[in-house]
Symmetry: C2
C-alpha cells in the first residue's frame, strides 16, 4: 500500500515532532483515528491557537501568549534577581526544580560567532538597558556548561560588572546521587577545582 | 511556573499521543513553537482534515478517506484471496513486508466474549455475505497469535468451511534470524509441532 492519501500525509506530518520517526508516526496516526478522535481534535485546535497567539514576553523573552509572561507579571516575584537561561524550556525546568523566586531572561541561544550569533541575537542590548534601570542587584548565570555556554556566561558577567551588578554562576560538579566511578573526567576535575571548605 | 495558559494546554493535549508523557510533550511543544511553526500548522490542519474525512472502507473496513480504500479500488489486485487482519495498521504492515497481492478484511478487534466483542462487532456477517458471492477462493488468517486471535482464526476458519472456501493460517515459529537461546518456550514448542519435511 503506497503511503498516499490523507492518512499518508498525516503520518508524514507527524514526523515533524521531535523524536518521532515513520514507525512511531504510523502508530500515532492509527491510534488517533481509531481510539481518540476527540483528543486529536483538541490537539489540532490548541496547536493552531498556540501558533497564532504565542509570542515572546516583552521583558524576559520567554514564550507566552500575553505581552508579559506569568512570571514577569507576578508582582510577588523578586525583580532584583534575574536568572539568565538559554531557552524557554530552561525557564520551566529551573522554576519547577528550585525555589528561585526571582525573574528570568531568555537568550534564545548562546554566543557562537561562527554561526553568526552575537550579542544582538541574544538580546543583550535589551538586558543592558534592563540593568541600567538600577532595579537589578544580581544576575544568576544558568547557561549550559558547554564551551559556548561558558563563554556566554563570561560575556554577560562582564556586562554585569560594567553596570555594578553582582553576577554568579550556578555550581557545576558531581550530580546529586552520582557515583564517582561513572563521572566523566572533565566534570570530576571541575568538581575538584571548585571544592568548598566544610 | 504553573502549567497554565495556552502553552500548558498544548503540552497537556500533546499527551494524548501514544507513548508521549509530560516531559516529551513539553519538549515537543517548545520544539514546535521555537523551530517549526510551519510544520506544526501543517500537522494541525492535516489532523483536522483527517478526523473529518477518514472513515472506513465499505468493503474491507480499513481506514480510508474514500468509499473504497486504495487496495479494494485497485483492479490489479486479486479479489479471490482475502487476508484477515485485526487492525488497519496490520494491513500496512502486511502490505509493506510481503508480496501478497490479494485484498484484506479488517476485523477491528478479535473475538472476546467477556468484553462483549462477538461476531457482529467484527463484521463477520459482512464477511459471510462476501464469501457467499462466490468470488473468494481463499482466506489467509493473519490474526495475532494470542488466545483470542487464535480463537478468532478458528471461528473464521469454520465460517470459510461453511462456504466451501479454503482457509489457511500464517505460519508461527522461530522468527528469521532468531536464536533458539532467546526464544520463549511456547514459540519453540509451536515450532516443533509445526515442523516441515525438507
Amino acid at each position: 500500500m503506497k503511503k498516499a492519501g490523507l492518512l499518508g500525509q498525516l503520518i508524514q506530518n507527524l514526523c515533524c515532532l521531535p523524536g518521532v520517526g515513520a514507525k512511531t508516526a504510523q502508530r500515532m496516526a492509527f491510534h488517533l483515528l481509531q481510539r481518540d478522535r476527540n483528543g486529536a481534535k483538541r490537539l489540532a485546535e490548541t496547536l493552531l491557537q498556540a501558533i497564532d497567539k504565542i509570542g515572546y514576553c516583552r521583558q524576559c523573552r520567554t514564550l507566552t501568549e500575553n505581552e508579559l509572561c506569568e512570571i514577569c507579571a507576578d508582582d510577588s516575584r523578586d525583580a532584583a534577581i534575574i536568572c539568565i537561561v538559554e531557552s524557554p524550556a530552561d525557564v520551566w525546568i529551573v522554576d519547577q526544580a528550585t525555589v528561585f523566586n526571582g525573574r528570568y531572561f531568555v537568550l534564545h541561544g548562546r554566543l557562537s560567532p561562527l554561526d553568526g550569533i552575537g550579542p544582538d541575537e541574544l538580546g543583550l542590548e535589551q538586558l543592558a538597558q534592563y540593568l541600567a534601570t538600577g532595579t537589578v542587584n544580581e544576575l544568576i548565570l544558568a547557561t549550559n556548561s558547554t564551551v559556548e555556554g561558558e563563554a556566554t556566561a563570561y560575556f554577560i558577567g562582564e556586562l554585569a560588572r560594567k553596570h555594578q551588578v553582582q553576577a554568579s554562576r550556578i555550581a557545576h560538579g558531581v550530580p546529586m546521587g552520582g557515583e564517582l566511578e561513572f563521572i566523566d573526567s572533565g566534570t570530576l576535575s571541575h568538581a575538584f577545582n571548585g571544592r568548598k571548605q566544610i
